[in-house]
């Protein structure tokens, strides 16, 4: 310690011990008012630094300009949805049925609600499933904004008053009978067509539809007319005129296009 003090004096002693007293002298040279301000300023800065070092969050700046422990707070949040995999551990039977049907991509918790508590405590926390007519239409009620091909119904006219589960097993919701009509899924098109001049033209007149389409709609797609002559069967001037059906000369009218590239056959314009 004594050695250290000696060393310190040797290094910095000239500030206050030497005969010239350089430090004190130069301090005295500063105008009085500045000296007072300097003391006040140094006091304030030191105070600020002490308070700052005392208050600053310890783990700030570990990964970036934030408290590292904030991430721990966030991930300590309890889970409410357990995830599909967990359900299969106990409900193998339901799972097997579901995974073979149309609802194979639907998580159990969509209908049965968040299940984390139930898994934790299966006897006390019971999960319910909606049994009325209210829930299924969230997905299956007809809405123009829904993608075409998604199975939709209009609940007002679809077996009114009957709960959905009376006819459909939700784990394997294939319709009691394969849909006879295209409108079961293509409600938007059916609606549009119903107010058009083509109302009496059946879908199958223009679309050849493989039977499998009704079961695996995206894998087996219906056809579309590929030639101009197909529409020309009714609408070409060469064919015998039927009253009210507009006819055009296929030779001159829109040569490079198949008819449905301009005209929407489900709602052909009147003019």
């Amino acid at each position: 310690m004594a050695k250290f003090k000696e060393k310190l004096n040797w290094r910095f002693g000239w500030l206050w011990f030497n005969k010239e007293k350089v430090f004190m002298k130069s301090w005295q040279k500063i105008p009085e008012q500045i000296r007072r301000l300097l003391v006040l300023m140094v006091l304030l800065i030191v105070l600020f630094l002490i308070v700052r070092s005392w208050l600053i969050p310890p783990d700030c700046g570990k990964y970036g300009h934030y408290r590292a422990s904030a991430v721990d707070n966030i991930i300590s949040q309890p889970l409410r949805y357990a995830g599909q995999v967990e359900c299969g551990d106990c409900h193998e039977d339901h799972m097997e049925v579901k995974n073979a049907g149309y609802h194979k991509n639907l998580a159990c918790e969509v209908c049965h609600g968040p299940a984390a508590d139930h898994i934790e405590n299966p006897d006390e926390v019971e999960l319910l499933a909606p049994r009325g007519r209210g829930y299924c239409p969230l997905c299956h009620e007809y809405l123009p904004a829904r993608p075409t091909g998604f199975p939709q119904i209009v609940s007002d006219s679809h077996n009114p008053m009957k709960p959905c589960i009376a006819c459909h097993e939700p784990h394997d919701p294939k319709p009691p009978e394969t849909p006879r009509e295209c409108s079961a899924c293509h409600a938007q098109i059916a609606r549009t067509k119903s107010i058009s001049h083509h109302v009496y033209v059946p879908c199958t007149r223009c679309h050849e539809t493989p039977e499998e389409h009704k079961i695996r709609p995206r894998d087996f797609r219906p056809t579309k007319p590929q030639t101009r002559e197909f529409c020309g069967g009714c609408h070409a001037t060469q064919t015998p005129e039927i009253k009210g059906i507009p006819q055009v000369d296929l030779q001159t009218h829109g040569q490079r296009y198949v008819c449905w590239q301009c005209h929407y056959p489900h709602l052909p314009e009147a003019h």
Partner: protein
Amino acid sequence: MKKEQRKKLPRRDFLKNVLRSCAGLMLPGFLFAKEAGKKAAALLLDGLYNPAEHSWGMGIDINKCIGCGRCADACKKENNVPNVPFFFRTWVERYRVFENGETLIDSPNGAVNGFENLTDERTIIRSFFVPKLCNHCNNPPCVQVCPVGATFQTVDGVVLVDAEYCIGCRYCIQACPYGARFLHPETRTAEKCTFCYHRVVRGKLPACVEVCPTQARIFGELKKKASPLVRFMRMNKIRVLKPALNTEPRVYYSNLDMEVR
């Protein structure tokens, strides 16, 4: 040569020790703090989850969204978001474009209760649903403006809010171009979608993705080859919301319409 080097090392160590003990005397808070920090960040550090190995993002296929709103509902339940129509971490919008070019947008209660069919005499030319959530921007304006560092982007790309540190100035809410943030009415701090970070670090999907019946939401890695998200981005033409603002979102939309903002 070797001897000199050996001599140097202890001296350097000594200096380090002196500096450390000086610092320790003057600012005792610092040392304790570092220890506390280590303890706090346990789960991440124990090797259960290494953020550096991941890079998260979400894809949204507009053509697949059926507007059931199960995502918005599940999000509220999973994250205890107040069940009132003013606060949403995610929501679904419905767009209806009419023949005269007019566009009507709605999102009743954020689609938590789904959508009802609205009768309108006019002919709809196109109509679709758009799920919205925090875009977890790579260039996040909310993080830029937070005065205290209470919102930040993690190494794996998720933008989070430190509710304990947030002072509730709401500058981040103003800076978010997507309206993804809100002030939690009870905690009075900013809140938003976390990509369900508490689920993701445990290897689970975000609640909204978990319950989506049609796989319209695709969550996954952006930088791994075998990732549903990477496949989605390979197979589709992709757009982000408000690209002109250069926020570089990590939420990617396919088949996005020009009317969507």
